[in-house]
Amino acid sequence: MNETRIVVVTSGKGGVGKTTTSASFASGLALRGHKTAVVDFDVGLRNLDLIMGCERRVVYDFVNVINEEASLTQALIKDKHSENLFVLPASQTRDKDALKEEGVERILNELRQMGFKYVVCDSPAGIEHGAIMALTFADEAIIVTNPEVSSVRDSDRILGILQAKSRRAKEGREPVKEHLLLTRYSPKRVETGEMLSHDDVRELLRIPLLGVIPESEAVLHASNQGQPAIHMQDQPVAEAYKDVVARFLGEEVPLRFTTTEKRGLLQRLFGGK
């Protein structure tokens, strides 16, 4: 039962919500009592630290540990919300080639030995070296997709890469378990026929749906403050991420926030969406 699961959060396309998702998903796992590490693979353009609100505490980074300039314990930053959560920041100044495959493997193994239950790998956008390194050692993959044509196509592309380049694929082991996560979903626009529905996207990509995160203004407030969106009080986006974590842990949770709700008089007066 002490087995570590490595989960990559990936998409191909940029700006769809990978880092937002990595931060909230890892925080959610930790809230549920699982010892979790979240690793930023976006070397050169680190941002997970800002979203997690620990940017002022970064001393050493992923590349320092790979180059044996610092120990993993020195580089891991304990999250301010949870005892169970640690952040490994990416390097801000080097380039992606600094992520040597043997180095990445060694560090993931070290995290295993430290007793982490989940290691969440926040992938950079694109399909280059950094993105490949983030998915190489994955046991499971969360494909973050917006209900929009270019994002769906890129997700399909990244699924192909996952099935070709992951260790599990190369070694002919059981394939990486794939999960679809739709983000920035607008039930209203789906209902008016302007936006692809979650059924549409699931049908196109043919992977199981892990959850639907509604488009929300709260995400910007969360990132402004350096607080993962899952911690926002009484926000559909926070509840939706909690549902995602529950489903990932094997619970049966019905989809929420995927249809437009009838608004009460107060909501209408106060302009709630």
Binding site: R56, R57, V58, D61, N64, E69, Q74, S91, G226, F270
Partner: protein
């Protein structure tokens, strides 16, 4: 309407939090760079300089940095070999 605005203001003020955080971060990244880059070099230089006076093994020079919200602490710990200490 002003009551409504006042009610919702606290929420919209997160932009100023973002601006403050970014100002601090960008200023420190522009001036001193990332400690991840210069700490290993500092450690190397220290070993070299101290080595000119006292024989020290590379593992004897420990450089630790702790960063807090308002204060950063740089701790340098040098363990001198037994003989050098007696001579000094």
């Amino acid at each position: 309407m002003s009551l409504l605005r006042a009610l919702f203001r606290s929420k919209s003020q997160s932009a100023s939090v973002a601006k403050d955080r970014l100002q601090v971060l960008i200023a420190s990244e522009r001036t001193s760079g990332s400690p991840a880059d210069w700490l290993p070099r500092l450690q190397k230089d220290l070993i070299e300089v101290i080595g000119r006076y006292v024989p020290v093994s590379p593992g004897a020079v420990k450089v630790e940095m702790e960063r807090g919200e308002n204060l950063d602490v740089l701790e340098i710990n040098i363990v001198l070999p037994e003989r050098a200490r007696k001579a000094g």
